[in-house]
């Protein structure tokens, strides 16, 4: 399927769902329902296919002895452990105690630990960006440092002042910039979709 066809399909589905939202019509509601159900089935199928593809790829890595064999082995073993725990005869699925143990004792702590490591890597990246000489990085890291200082958990009048200041910083300065970015991205997406629909390409296409 060519790219304009996909875009046209996306726009048509979007318009259909929008019309269903704005107009009370049972026929339109039924058609929109079919489209939503189809989207759910496609997403579920895509997720399963992605999982199968990951396992196949890692098994291929192990078979051909390429890439990271330990990582591939861990991925395959992890998927196998979860499948056995949740799908073995007599298992109660995602509620099964074995699945719960894998989640609570392994998956959740590992996920939180990986996220916690962002502390080190983010601070290191900030320092490297400043050392690299970029003015944007200096502005970004300065604003970040000020925000971090405003979030210090102090009690009393100083803590109250810091809390008010951080509230203003997050609720006014940061939120307004973020919303501006989101609006800009949405407008860019709409313009790009319209250009694709109308067959207007850039000069180098």
């Amino acid at each position: 399927m060519t790219r304009p066809t996909i875009t046209a399909l996306v726009v048509l589905v979007g318009l259909l769902l929008l019309a269903d939202l704005l107009v009370v019509n049972s026929a339109l509601q039924d058609v929109a329902g079919v489209v939503v159900d189809a989207a759910i089935l496609v997403a579920a199928g895509a997720a399963l296919a992605a999982g199968a593809s990951l396992v196949t790829r890692r098994l291929g890595d192990l078979w051909r002895r390429r890439g990271d064999p330990i990582g591939a082995l861990l991925v395959v073993a992890g998927v196998a452990a979860m499948l056995v725990a949740g799908m073995r005869p007599g298992s109660s699925g995602s509620d099964d105690p074995a699945v719960q143990w894998l989640l609570a004792a392994l998956l959740i702590p590992i996920g939180a630990t990986l996220f916690g490591l962002l502390f080190v890597s983010t601070v290191a990246a900030a320092r490297r960006s400043v050392a690299g000489g970029s003015r944007e990085a200096v502005v970004l890291v300065t604003a970040t440092t000020i925000t971090v200082l405003l979030l210090l958990p102090l009690a009393g009048s100083i803590g109250s002042w810091l809390s008010d200041a951080s509230g203003w910083m997050l609720g006014t300065a940061v939120a307004s910039v973020f919303r501006g970015l989101l609006i800009g991205i949405a407008l860019l997406g709409a313009v790009y979709a319209a250009r694709t629909m109308l067959g207007i390409g850039s000069a180098d296409e």
């Binding site: 719960q100 959740i108 990986l114 601070v123 320092r127 979030l151 210090l152 958990p153 919303r179």
Partner: protein, 281 residues
């Protein structure tokens, strides 16, 4: 290519862990306090729950992610206990895989804590994220196992209209924004309360200002204030013992600010020296 970093910098991550560990072991100081103002967001949450009437039906959209859930977990557990102590009936639904994993884990914990099973309903996992949310507004189909519950029959018959409030436990993949965009316009006005990690704050705060979110707990301080004000009575066993502590957070923030500040000062000194050298030349 040689690594020019000084030896101490290679030990910095290990040193950080040691410092955080020591801070965790030490008692908190009186000058520290994680709790935000009493009349802040936690008051909005309590006001929203107080306004629901007796034995409300509450839908919990549980889509936290593994990375940030540790930040909101004590608050989520307190809120669930708060709902149950108000005789609320709560239904869990997830639209992300990680959210589903965490939701089943929390429901298993509630069962171990002997929470009233007749007041809880598992609506499971719906794939396709935002399309799933749209589907949720069209019909809700509880599992056959749950069909015996009067609660399940009520939800199956009335759909989203059965619920008096929606609690969104948000994460990096799906949060209150999607619920406000996809669900709120398609259902009768229903208060939406959100609990999110602070990383989502810039995205979610405007919805509080516009009134589309009835209440938001989006920072550890707001969470601590809500937990200290919540009265869960006999369900204290469902609440997490010991939430995040102020001293380790203070140490972590100071280390982060110090590391970034040192880089900024070094850059400032370097720039000043180069300007001075240029003037002399």
């Amino acid at each position: 290519m040689s690594d020019r970093r000084p030896p101490w910098s290679l030990l910095a991550p290990a040193l950080l862990l040691v410092l955080l560990g020591v801070a965790w072991l030490l008692p908190d100081l009186d000058v520290l306090g994680l709790e935000a103002d009493d009349d802040g967001p936690q008051a909005d949450v309590r006001a929203t729950l107080d306004g629901l009437g007796p034995a409300p039906l509450v839908l919990i959209g549980f889509d936290a992610d593994l990375g940030t859930y540790a930040e909101v977990r004590p608050t989520v557990r307190t809120l669930i206990a708060d709902l149950l102590v108000r005789d609320a009936r709560i239904a869990f639904v997830s639209l992300t895989v990680e959210g589903r994993a965490l939701a089943t884990s929390e429901q298993a914990r509630l069962r171990r804590g002997e929470a009233n099973a007749n007041r809880m309903l598992d609506l499971g996992f719906i794939p396709a994220a935002e399309a799933g949310l749209v589907d949720l507004t069209r019909s809700i189909r509880p599992d056959d196992d749950a069909g015996a519950l009067a609660f399940a029959r009520e939800v199956s018959t009335a759909g989203m209209a059965a619920f008096d409030a929606i609690i969104v436990v948000g994460g990096n993949d799906l949060g209150p924004r999607s619920w406000i965009e996809q669900v709120a316009p398609r259902i009768a006005p229903t208060p939406i309360v959100a609990i999110t990690p602070s990383v989502l704050l810039p995205e979610v705060l405007p919805y509080v200002a516009s009134g589309q979110l009835a209440a938001l707990i989006g920072t550890p301080g707001d969470g601590a204030a809500y937990r200290s004000a919540a009265e869960v009575g006999s369900l204290e066993r469902l609440v997490e013992a010991g939430g995040p502590r102020s001293l380790p957070i203070l140490v972590g923030l100071l280390i982060a600010a110090g590391a970034m500040g040192q880089a900024l000062v070094a850059r400032l000194v370097g720039t000043t020296r180069s300007l001075a050298d240029r003037d002399r030349a």
